[in-house]
Subunit: 362 residues, 2 copies
C-alpha cells in the first residue's frame, strides 16, 4: 500500500459503491460474517451519503479495531428477553451496533405490521452509528420510525457541573409523499453534537457562547478545549429543562426500559476497548393503521409545499424541510462521490494496511 500517494489537502471524492465495497471487505476481514459486514457498510455509507461526516468513514477504523480486539462481538447471539405483541426487549450480546440496531428495528417494524405500533428496546449493544439509519428502515416499509440511544457521558445537567448525561440522540422519520422525500430529524439532545464541535475546531472558529465546558468545567468558546456540552436550550443563563428533559427521557426509554446501562454508566469509546454497553430504543408506526396511505402522501406533499412557500428571513435563501439538507447532500454524493477529509482518508488507508486489503482508488 506504500505506493499510494500521500493524501493532499483537497478533499478526495470516492464513489459511493467503491467506499461501500471497501467497508464490506474491511469488516469481513475484521471478522464479521458477510451479511453483517454488508449491514455495517450500508449503515456507515448512509451517513457518508447524507453528509454526516462524523458518522460514516470516520468510524470505520475504530469499528474494525473493536471487531478484532473483542470490543465488538462479531458472532453475537441477539436474544429476546421479554416480549408482548407490541414490545420486545433484546440483549445485543455486544454485537456491532449497526447489526444489532438493524435487527431490532426490523423487529419493531414486524410488530407494527401486526398491531399497528411496535417498540423494541435493546441492552448490551455497541455504538450504532448514525441514528437516521433505523427510522429510515421503517420509512422504507411505509411506516414512521423513531430511535434513541445512550452514549458515553459528555453532557452536563442544567445547573450542574459534571458530565452525567450522554449526547443521547433522538431520530424521527416519516415517509415522504408522492413528490416529496421523507422527513428526517436526527438530533443529539445536547446543544450540539460532538461532531459539530469538531467542525468548529477544524475550521478554527469560536464556539457560540453557552455550548461547552473545558476539562476543568469552565465555560469555553475554544473548540479545541471543549470537552463537555450543555443540553439543547439549557445553558446556565437560561436554565431551560427542555433539552435536559429530552436527554433524560432517552436514558429512561433506552436504558431503564431495556435493563441496560444509562449514559452515566457507560465509558467513552476513546476510553475503553471493551464493549460500550449501549442501550437503544426503536419504535415504528404503520401509516395505514392511522390514515389511508394515499391521503397521507397527498397531505405530506401539501405540508412540505406550505413550508417551502415560507418567505425567507432577511439574508436567508429559503426555508428547508428538516432532513432536506441531507437529501440534497445525498443527491450530490451519489452523482459526484463522497468527499472525505484528508485525515479520514489517511485513517482508511491505515485501516487497509492493518487488514492487508487494498484501499479504494480515489
Amino acid at each position: 500500500m506504500t505506493a499510494i500517494p500521500a493524501p493532499t489537502a483537497s478533499p478526495a471524492r470516492i464513489p459511493a459503491d467503491a467506499l461501500a465495497d471497501f467497508y464490506d471487505r474491511a469488516f469481513t476481514r475484521a471478522g464479521l460474517p458477510p451479511e453483517d459486514a454488508a449491514t455495517v457498510a450500508r449503515v456507515l455509507l448512509t451517513a457518508d451519503l447524507r453528509g454526516i461526516a462524523s458518522h460514516g468513514a470516520a468510524l470505520a477504523h475504530g469499528y474494525a479495531r473493536r471487531m478484532r480486539d473483542g470490543g465488538i462481538n462479531t458472532r453475537p447471539d441477539i436474544r429476546p428477553l421479554t416480549e408482548t405483541p407490541g414490545t420486545l426487549v433484546l440483549d445485543g450480546d455486544a454485537g456491532a451496533g449497526p447489526v444489532v440496531g438493524t435487527y431490532a428495528m426490523g423487529r419493531a417494524i414486524a410488530k407494527a405490521r401486526e398491531v399497528g405500533v411496535g417498540t423494541v428496546t435493546v441492552r448490551n449493544s455497541n455504538h450504532y452509528a448514525a441514528c437516521c439509519n433505523y427510522p429510515l428502515l421503517a420509512v422504507a416499509e411505509g411506516m414512521a420510525g423513531m430511535t434513541m440511544t445512550t452514549t458515553g457521558p459528555t453532557v452536563v445537567p442544567t445547573f450542574g457541573a459534571a458530565p452525567l448525561l450522554g449526547t443521547n440522540p433522538i431520530c424521527i422519520a416519516f415517509p415522504g409523499g408522492a413528490r416529496e422525500r421523507p422527513f428526517v430529524i436526527d438530533m443529539s439532545t445536547s446543544v450540539a453534537a460532538l461532531g459539530a464541535v469538531g467542525v468548529y475546531r477544524r475550521e478554527g472558529r469560536a464556539l457560540p457562547e453557552g455550548w461547552a465546558y473545558d476539562a476543568a468545567m469552565h465555560p469555553t468558546t475554544d473548540a479545541a478545549q471543549a470537552r463537555y456540552l450543555n443540553p439543547l436550550g439549557g445553558d446556565r443563563a437560561h436554565g431551560s429543562q427542555k433539552g435536559y428533559g429530552l436527554n433524560v427521557a432517552v436514558d429512561l426509554f433506552a436504558a431503564l426500559l431495556s435493563g441496560g446501562r444509562y449514559s452515566a454508566q457507560m465509558q467513552l469509546a476513546t476510553a475503553t476497548p471493551d464493549p460500550l454497553q449501549s442501550a437503544h430504543m426503536f419504535s415504528a408506526w404503520r401509516i395505514d393503521a392511522f390514515v389511508p396511505p394515499e391521503e397521507y402522501a397527498a397531505r405530506f406533499d401539501e405540508y412540505v409545499r406550505m413550508l417551502h412557500a415560507c418567505p425567507p428571513a432577511p439574508g436567508a435563501e429559503r426555508v428547508l424541510i428538516p432532513g432536506e439538507p441531507e437529501w440534497l447532500a445525498e443527491d450530490d454524493r451519489r452523482a459526484h462521490g463522497i468527499p472525505l477529509h484528508p485525515t479520514v482518508v489517511a485513517d482508511l488507508r491505515a485501516l487497509a494496511d492493518e487488514l492487508d486489503i487494498p484501499f479504494v482508488e480515489c
Copy 2:
C-alpha cells in the same frame, strides 16, 4: 357578587379543593355533563398545582365562554375512525380538549395493557390545557406516557419569516421509583412557551436575544411587542434544525396521522370563537412489558440519586430532575393554596358573574 372586595396587588392563595369546586360548578353551568365538568376541573387544577400558571385558572373563563358559544361541543360524540390492536384514530367532535384528551389517553393505556404499547391520534378536538395531564394518567397505571398537540400558528420555521408552525408541545412522563416521584418533561418545541413570554412581559424584563419577532417579523427583545417565536435552539444565527424538526414531527404525528389539521391550518384561540380543530397524539408503554416493575423502580431511584448528587454549577443551588420543580410547586400549593395573579382572580370573578354562580372565598 359585587359585594366581594376588589382584588389587591398581592397574589391571593385559594385552596385547591375550593378552586376545583368552582371549576366544577362553572363548567357544569356552562353546559358540560357533571363528569365532564369534573374532568376539565381536574385538568386545569393539575396546572394550577404544578405552577403552570398559563394553563390552569387563566384558561377557565375562555373555556366556559366557548362552551356557551359553541366553540366547544358540550355533548361530543367521540368516534373511533380506524383501529388496530395497538392504534386508534378518534374524531373528537369539537369536544372540550381535556375531555377528549382524557378519553383518548385512556384508550392508549387500554391498548398498552393489551399489547404492551398503544398510540391514539385525535382530530377535530380543542385546546387540551397542560400536556402533562395525559402522560400522568399513564404513570398512574404504571406506564410511561407521551403526548403531542398542534396549536395555532405562532412559530417561525428556521430561516423563515412567517409563523407557519405552532408551539407544538411534547410531554413525556415515566413512573417514579420506590422513593422518587415521576419524571415529567412538558415542553413547547418553540424556544419558549407563549406563557413564558408573558412572564417576561409582566415582570418588565427584556427577552433573551433570538427568541421572538414583533408583528412585522423583526427580531425583538421587547416582551410586550413579541408576537412570534423561534423554534427551540433554532434562531437565525445558529440555524439548528432541532426544535424545528421536533415541531414538524408534532404536526406529522398529531395531524397527519389523524387526518386532522396541522398548526398552520388552525386559527389562534384569540382569533376565532369556532372550534379550534386541535389534533393530538397519545402513547403509552407498559413498564412491565419491558422490565420487572420493582427492578425499574429501584433503577429509577438510583438514576435520580445520581443526578441529585451532581455538583452544582457556580452560583446554582443544586441539580433538579426534569419535572421536579413542578412536584415542589405541588407540595407548596397543596399545603398553602394556589397563588393566583390579581388579573386571573378578576377574570374568575367575571366568569362567576357571567354564570351567576358564587366565586370561591379567598
